[in-house]
């Protein structure tokens, strides 16, 4: 019997007009960094240079914060809310118009499959602006008092896993509630943020309302510590989140923190197994597992574990790993050499601690950073691969006998961002959803996102929510809380 093979279906790079050099976006204009320093951003799938990007230091940050403060005082806080909303609608529309270009640039800079940037990242980013645009002139109905007030200038720091989408999660609510922002994209994925700066120009957004500064962790720390910032919004690792919490402990600054996770995906014996397998694959292999809410711990009932694992392995053999620009690709490149090293290091501890590794046979490209889809069975709760966030396509499988044991294992983590439940019994799902200590529970589905749906973690997965009515709270001053 002949086997049907996929033909190549490459997306074209031609639509992406990536400049060779980018400055910092401050006060509505691209400016050169004061020290004239820059760094490279590369395509992780080929290791080719994409562009040189300005490196912002303290003096650049100061300029950006001043420009945001001026815009807040003189323009943005004086603008009728209805007009503020219309700018956000414009941005949403321009993102939709330029969606294909954004998807291509995102995939080139990040390494994620074009299918995901095209179908998830960019449409959701546009949707976030559209959703929040509508809030701008309805804040008095949002349940945060009759005269909700913005905080002022917000410093925002975002990760590399969903560059434009995380930008939208940050900028859309901040602007809708009347704040101005200084945003720092991740060091390895600055391009779509810089492209977004052009969108702000096209939308005619008043100068200084959005400022985008590029750099590394040092740049981010300087932004956090700038004295004229009112609030920090951060998405990233729990370690950095705690460092931010410490830095602002003696200041008036507030923070929302979206941090790490080690989500349990619980599969009960009465689950629809084929659907659960799809959910498990989506839960851990979506975006190369570079997802803070990834379902990285599969906790499956012992009675169906063998059947499920057999089906899961069969399904994993069908995952297409390779060129992110190919529309058939399921699993793209690991975002950076550093991340690949981290995934290897934690995964190797799984071997060393006695878990059993399995990956389908995949041919990885010679250039670029790659890691095959991987599962570990025979994992115990004390193993590092069951406790630490790997942030890669690596799944740890644990089993349980009773529902009580399932919850016990699921909650045995310092994290509490998300969890999954698979069962055909409604009462059991609601029971489990109630017991699980996590901010987002996906039942009989996984990794679903929507601007109307609040997202954020319990415990050490962070502070506050993003999205929905609840996400507005983090950008409005509280009428019940004392400002120090």
């Amino acid at each position: 019997m002949s086997k049907f093979e996929y033909a190549n279906a490459p997306e074209s790079k031609a639509i992406a007009n990536i400049a060779t050099n980018y400055g910092l976006f401050i006060g509505g204009k691209f400016v050169e960094p004061k020290q004239g320093k820059s760094f490279n951003t590369i395509n992780p799938a080929s290791e080719e240079l994409l562009a040189k990007v300005g490196y912002a230091d303290k003096s650049d940050i100061d300029l950006a914060v001043k420009s945001a403060r001026l815009a807040f005082n003189k323009v943005w806080s004086k603008l009728p809310a209805k007009e503020r909303g219309k700018y956000l609608y414009r941005i949403a529309r321009i993102l939709q118009e330029r969606a294909r270009e954004f998807a291509v640039v995102e995939t080139l800079d990040n390494g994620k499959p074009i299918r995901e940037s095209r179908d998830t990242d960019i449409p959701l980013a546009a949707a976030h602006f559209f959703y929040h645009a509508g809030w701008a002139d309805k804040l008095e109905y949002a349940g945060f008092g009759s005269k909700p007030k913005p905080l002022g200038v917000v410093g925002q720091i975002i990760p590399w896993n969903f560059p434009l989408l995380m930008l939208a999660w940050k900028i859309a609510p901040a602007l809708a509630t009347g704040n101005t922002v200084v945003l720092k994209p991740a060091e390895t994925t600055p391009l779509t943020a810089l492209l977004f700066a052009q969108v702000c120009q096209q939308a005619g957004l008043p100068d200084g309302v959005v400022n985008i500064i590029t750099g590394d962790g040092v740049t981010g720390a300087a932004l956090v510590n700038h004295p004229d910032i009112n609030k920090i919004a951060f998405t990233g690792s729990t370690d950095v989140g705690k460092a931010i919490a410490r830095s602002i402990s003696a200041t008036k600054k507030t923070a929302t923190l979206e941090l790490g996770g080690k989500a349990a995906n619980l599969v009960f014996e009465d689950a629809a197994i084929d659907e659960a397998v799809e959910g498990i694959v989506n839960g851990i292999f979506f975006n190369q597992g570079h997802v803070c809410c990834a379902g990285s711990r599969l906790v499956v009932q012992e009675s169906v574990a063998d059947e499920l694992l057999e089906k899961l392995k069969k399904r994993m053999s069908l995952i297409r790993v390779g060129d992110p620009m190919d529309k058939n690709t399921d699993l793209g490149a690991i975002n950076s050499k550093e991340q690949l090293t981290k995934i290897r290091e934690i995964s190797n501890s799984g071997d060393a601690e006695g878990a059993n590794r399995w990956s389908p046979e995949v041919k990885l490209p010679a250039k670029g950073y790659w890691y095959p889809p991987t599962i570990f069975t025979g994992v115990s709760q004390s193993h590092r691969i069951a406790r630490e966030e790997i942030f890669g396509p690596v799944l740890s499988v644990l089993t349980f006998r009773t529902p009580g044991e399932a919850i016990e294992k699921a909650n045995n983590t310092m994290y509490g961002l998300s969890a999954g439940v698979w069962s055909d019994k409604g009462a059991k799902i609601l029971w489990a959803a109630k017991q699980l200590k996590a901010g987002v529970i996906w039942s009989n589905t996984f990794n679903k996102f929507d601007p109307a749906s609040p997202f954020g973690g319990y415990k050490e997965s962070g502070w506050g929510r993003e999205g929905g009515r609840h996400g507005l709270a983090g950008y409005l001053s509280s009428e019940a809380k004392a400002s120090k």
């Binding site: 919490a245 402990s249 959803a433 901010g439 749906s453 609040p454 929905g468």
Partner: protein, 280 residues
């Protein structure tokens, strides 16, 4: 010869019982007129740890009680407090040096605070939850859930009301509490334990410690089983230090500026969002 009064020994309230400090320490509390009033327990780090263990053990039960039930228990506290109004009046007058009338007003407000938060218990997800209109065939809703164990530094004055308006919202949300009584005005907060123990509040839901604030707050900051802190009774410097140490487990730390407000409840709750597909 006139009768000699039988004075009360002011002890701690931990896990539903009234122990002395394991350290054997007490400290002297004086009345507004500088006369000796009592030797309440001076809680140690070990007492704090015991209180947290009791609070942690009671948490799941308190959180899973129906909201209606929690509301009734908070209302019961108001009833019991009304019955003990005279006892609180005496303590407040002696401690704060206020008139009977002023003390009475404070007690009435404290009782009404219990009633106000009692009514909130079963309205929290109506007020602060939502059903979210996502762009797809999913049922999606968000509902508040308790944080866990919350430590409270009660305000100094008004001594009774300062304890009640910090404690009641924490309980209403389904959290269990470790209340640190005001160092200089602790007696009404300690007596509050006697009210709670006769109001159907399950053991461990509220634990009350008296002692030195300056000694206790660093340990509360670093305790990994404490999830939230109301810093009403701390100085700005103490609050900053507690926030620095509290970052180790990302404690939710709040100070409020208004008296009764639902945000006092919701600041010690998490929002959980649940998705489920719709389809046949």
């Amino acid at each position: 010869m006139s009768r000699i009064d039988v004075n009360k020994t002011y002890k701690l309230f931990i896990g539903g019982t009234f122990p002395r400090s394991e350290s054997g320490r007490v400290y002297e509390v004086k009345a507004a007129n500088k006369k000796f009033l009592a030797n309440p327990a001076l809680a140690s780090r070990k007492d704090l740890r015991d209180a947290v263990v009791a609070a942690k053990s009671a948490q799941a039960g308190w959180a899973s009680a129906t909201a209606f039930n929690r509301g009734q228990i908070l209302y019961r506290i108001a009833e019991m407090m009304q019955g003990r109004a005279d006892q609180f009046t005496e303590e407040i007058v002696a401690l704060e040096g206020v008139t009977n009338k002023v003390a009475k007003l404070q007690i009435e407000e404290a009782i009404d605070t219990w009633v106000w938060y009692s009514g909130w218990c079963d309205k929290l997800s109506t007020y602060a939850g939502s059903q979210n209109q996502v762009a797809g065939p999913f049922y999606n809703f968000t509902t508040p859930e308790p944080l866990g164990v919350v430590a409270i530094f009660a305000e100094s004055k008004p001594s009774l009301l300062g304890a009640v308006r910090t404690l009641a919202p924490v309980m209403a949300g389904g959290n269990t509490a470790v209340l640190i009584a005001s160092e200089n005005f602790p007696l009404p907060a300690i007596t509050l334990g006697e009210v709670l123990s006769t109001s159907d509040v399950p053991a461990g839901v509220v634990n009350i410690l008296s002692g030195k604030t300056s000694e206790l707050y660093p340990w509360i900051g670093s305790h990994m089983e404490i999830d939230g802190v109301d810093v009403a009774g701390l100085s700005k410097r103490q609050e900053d230090e507690l926030k620095l140490v509290g970052a180790d487990n990302l404690k939710r730390i709040s100070r409020f500026s208004t008296a009764n407000h639902p945000e006092r409840i919701l600041s010690f709750m998490e929002q959980k969002t649940i998705w489920h597909p719709i389809g046949i």
